[in-house]
Symmetry: C2
Subunit: 196 residues, 2 copies
Amino acid sequence: MKEKNPTREKLLDITFEEIYIHGYASTSIGSILKKASIPKGSMYHFFKSKKVLVIAMIQERLFPKMDLFFNYKKEKEQSVFSNLKDTFVSMSKHKKLIIYGCPFYRLMVELSPIDKEFDSLLMLKYNELLLGLETLFQEGIDNNEFSKSLNAKHFAEFYLSSVWGVLSLSPSLSSAKNFITHIRYILNTLESYKIS
Amino acid sequence: MKEKNPTREKLLDITFEEIYIHGYASTSIGSILKKASIPKGSMYHFFKSKKVLVIAMIQERLFPKMDLFFNYKKEKEQSVFSNLKDTFVSMSKHKKLIIYGCPFYRLMVELSPIDKEFDSLLMLKYNELLLGLETLFQEGIDNNEFSKSLNAKHFAEFYLSSVWGVLSLSPSLSSAKNFITHIRYILNTLESYKIS
DNA sequence: ATTAAAATAGACTGATTGGTCTAGTTTCTT
DNA sequence: AAGAAACTAGACCAATCAGTCTATTTTAAT
């Protein structure tokens, strides 16, 4: 099975990698093209500007990767709490995630304050993530795993930003061990709402 | 009392503001000079490069501002917990902080992965902040405000990154109300270690 | 008042940026 | 096989970047 537009696909791959590490402003089109060994004409054939390229990268690379991470498929009868613990363990094994943080959050920190288009695109995904988490926590409340005093939406917001904050610390502070240690406190917070 | 080097001081002020909002890479020297109405010669008389200018800004503007925020002066007999609550209330009144997040954290997210010099400068301050917080929590433990099962250092790390994570969300998600709501969960975590 | 030093002023430079343009090549369609 | 469409190739462009340079003005020292 032959892939369509291998040039386009490769461009999106390299764009993701470069911007993840260096950020949007510090990544030049030239450096992407050089790394991908793709001439300029090809890139501008598929994407009319740097911004359009990056928006496509966000939609076709970043968002799908996030969907994998935030896919809270529970085993039958598994509690929400133990489900989250599993998620964190699996996150802690992704070296790049631990070292460089969440690519979504890093883009948001860089671009949201200065670009409305990027911001609204990222906010669409943010709201989607939030809703997924909120639903998960609400499920826990409805199943008497958590106290009704837990506000599913507010806790989801805290949870997301807190995990991002921990993940996106300087690489020189980042290790799987530190990540797990910090994340335990987030779980502690949730645990205090557990109905024993 | 006449200030020394008003040109230099103004440059540092404007550099802080511009980089806070736009980030390091997206802020050009030209835009700083234009906003400050200062010619290039003057800037390069005081600072030999953009990097040197920004390092001076970090040391002479960013760090002192942070010292104000993280100055956990306690009233006599005030508990650590109530002291932190006061800090958050005062933080929630700083509009720019709420909207644009912590300038230190934003610089760290942008520069730490790609520049060793900036990273080590920022890490010096990080360790200082951390030690201050650790000491504060340890004080609470020693005074029987918190359980001995609280690890002062680990909690300080969680606390810092969590607050930063909440603060540095997109401006379109940022409000003082949201900040307080999210921060309450961090305090909840700490509260669970309280000795009643 | 004279001289030296500090600061200002901005034209200029070479490198790099995002983006354009045209010519050629490959692939698809019929 | 022929023609059209898709894609590749990279030279080229204007704008912008950080940084240099020299000339001039202001301030400080004696």
